[in-house]
Symmetry: C3
Subunit: 338 residues, 3 copies
Amino acid sequence: MADPRFFRRAGPFTLGALADRLGAQSGGAEVAFGGNPDLAVTDVGTIEDAGPSDICFFSDRNYAIAFAGTKAGACLTTPALAPLAPPGCTALIVKDPRTAFALAAHAFYPDDRPPVGAEPVFGSGVEIGSGAFVDTGVHVGAGARIGADAVIGAPVRIGENCRIGPNVTLARCLIGDRVILHPGVQVGQDGFGFVPGPSGLLKIPQLGRVLIESDVEIGANSCVDRGAMGDTVIGAGAKIDNLVHVGHNVRIGPHCVIVAQAGIAGSCRIGAGVLIGGQVAISDHLTVGDRAQIAGKSGLMRDVPAGDTVMGYPARPIRQFWRELATVTRLTKRDNKP
Amino acid sequence: MADPRFFRRAGPFTLGALADRLGAQSGGAEVAFGGNPDLAVTDVGTIEDAGPSDICFFSDRNYAIAFAGTKAGACLTTPALAPLAPPGCTALIVKDPRTAFALAAHAFYPDDRPPVGAEPVFGSGVEIGSGAFVDTGVHVGAGARIGADAVIGAPVRIGENCRIGPNVTLARCLIGDRVILHPGVQVGQDGFGFVPGPSGLLKIPQLGRVLIESDVEIGANSCVDRGAMGDTVIGAGAKIDNLVHVGHNVRIGPHCVIVAQAGIAGSCRIGAGVLIGGQVAISDHLTVGDRAQIAGKSGLMRDVPAGDTVMGYPARPIRQFWRELATVTRLTKRDNKP
Amino acid sequence: MADPRFFRRAGPFTLGALADRLGAQSGGAEVAFGGNPDLAVTDVGTIEDAGPSDICFFSDRNYAIAFAGTKAGACLTTPALAPLAPPGCTALIVKDPRTAFALAAHAFYPDDRPPVGAEPVFGSGVEIGSGAFVDTGVHVGAGARIGADAVIGAPVRIGENCRIGPNVTLARCLIGDRVILHPGVQVGQDGFGFVPGPSGLLKIPQLGRVLIESDVEIGANSCVDRGAMGDTVIGAGAKIDNLVHVGHNVRIGPHCVIVAQAGIAGSCRIGAGVLIGGQVAISDHLTVGDRAQIAGKSGLMRDVPAGDTVMGYPARPIRQFWRELATVTRLTKRDNKP
């Protein structure tokens, strides 16, 4: 599933070879009865997007309906869940499907360097600062300016009239037009994903990209991780302040405003026109509806409906937050009366 | 008003030409009855500092007294507020003065690159690290050390015996003596200012500077934005830790201590000798008095008088914070008794 | 005590010469009656690790037992505490021992540049990115990759098969094998330590190192300060996310997970396998036991026993946090009933 411009894929492996390899690394892996060990597996994928020559994993009954419809040719799963595999999907039975999947991803993507491409291509009027490094395969659109000592990894695409600040690092990303990245912005590095492994925590290969749509602005020293599977997306016209963290697979809608030092954990869905205050923290996998507002320094632990305003830690409707604070203040005054 | 060493100004424009241009971009702009459309306007400015050939904006009755005394030759304002323009100040009537002002600033400052200057000037004993880039017009004082791969934009001034760390970026700033900037510090990039524009959010040109006084120390990967109009100032002897955010037009007094990951939003006034704990957030436009102390992780939403200590989210006097917490703990214990 | 590979030491000074110098800078310093002013002092040290030719400081009765056992040849202390000096340790009597100690450290370490070493040494298969700077005395282990525009200060040691990202800065650190540092990581800069000085805040020389053990991963734009005296340590297999702050002399055990934007203040002891959520703040000098969990956005102000889970600001046992929140919500609803 990984974009072959950005990731070097090994394989294919037969299902039997994968079983041998993963079994040796993680304590046993067995092709389900009746499965074809000679099936050629070419890539890892998710339940949703894997195809007949891909392998996915299934470890959580909450995804049973999606799993019933998977087109994956093979699936890492547990003995208990293996009977749920639909016809055409061979179960590869393991103890811990997530760990086995991470090991499989390492097998298919053993080299974390992007492929070497052709000479970089520059549109008219591009300016490249002193000491900036532009790797092979990069395209830079007309009128773009790359700051001094910026590092543009292979084979990033940058649109027209962008301003990439000094000391910025870009990797595995596609960038629209008129995007402004201030100094020290880091885009496209590995997301933060680990599973328990044979010896300590095992890194889950991060095989997605970052898509930054047109007219986005990102403040100094902010960080946008690339997706694990699938992409991290910053919607058109979004404005992001300094020192903001955007985790892997986050999708930010168009025209959002995200104030300094906010952090959005992995796989969140942020709607259009959302306002996120400074130092807000948003837990992983949450959904924030269009035009919602999150007051500064809030800690979001639940979804927010479109148009709502929330505040607090944990964040709750803003009127409730202020009322509860008033209650505490009143009770404290009463109890401390002489 | 912008420092011509740092910003390239276009114009002048006649008031009539400005009206045509802004009107086309934002849905109508009209010189008030009796106003002179041939007035030559040379720059944008604030109500306070604009002169007879400058244009300011007025959109908020709270500033009516200041507006009555403005020396601006012209002013973007609404039909309702236009009658308040003092003699000598021609109203240019628009629907949204702030948006029109941002558009006017774009007209006067269409090129965000600093002017090209003469060869950089280095005092005796200056050391420049490998890969560091020092742009035209820069002055570096005697004994200063510039780290490897640092980027010093045109035409920054650096005082004597400063230590500028590796991978630092400096732009549009004036720096005193004996200043220490640790690696990855970003100074002088655009502040975070936007208004609703014809298509999405419109960037407000950031036309101020950063002034860092002598004996300041700033920790790794901290960010100090330059002012929008006027300057961001870090007072003499202030010590700032890692990953701190200082917004545009913030003024920090001398000898403050600001602990890691604190964030100070735009236009705050921080007194002398203030102590700001780690991960504190300070909302925009607040004033913190001399020697005040803000406990770590507080969220400041009101001014703090000189000498006070506050804590909490929102921050309140520290005794009140602890008392309120004790009340909640006590009531919870009482209600959970068997 | 400072590692001579990383720090240039001046001296030795006789105790009398030190007394003259510190006295002039800080308002008086006197060798205790019977002390030998000709004692040659070669270095500064702590009560615990100073030897017969070193000088330490003692200003807090809580450390009286440790002080009784010190092997230091001399000690900066107050008139009131001087009688507690053990035999063999000459008191150098000052008004403020901490400030005098900082001044003494400046005397021994007047030059904050690392010593110049031999040509860097590279293991087989090392890759160095464009514009990266590797200073003298650096060792880079086999198979390591140094990103473009990274800066490796003298004389850092990097183990085998490490990945050092672009725009990283390393100073005064020793790094194990298979360590991954993402772009913009800053390691080994000065910690945040000051004392009141003759004119404003006086910097305490930061004379320790950073030790990063094998299999550690650190996210983009995170910062790890070096120790003041002694080292900052990141234990084997620890995984640290983006924009995290690790203060001086923090010791993080093996296999910890630290989520984005968390901050750990100076001298904390974090056990093995601890989970620290995003935007957590941990006050200085705290101890967190093995396998403890700190919920995201908590503010830790007390030690946490091994295995406990805490949440809130200030952090408390997680059940207590949720109960207290429920109490507030219930009382608020009751009082706002029609």
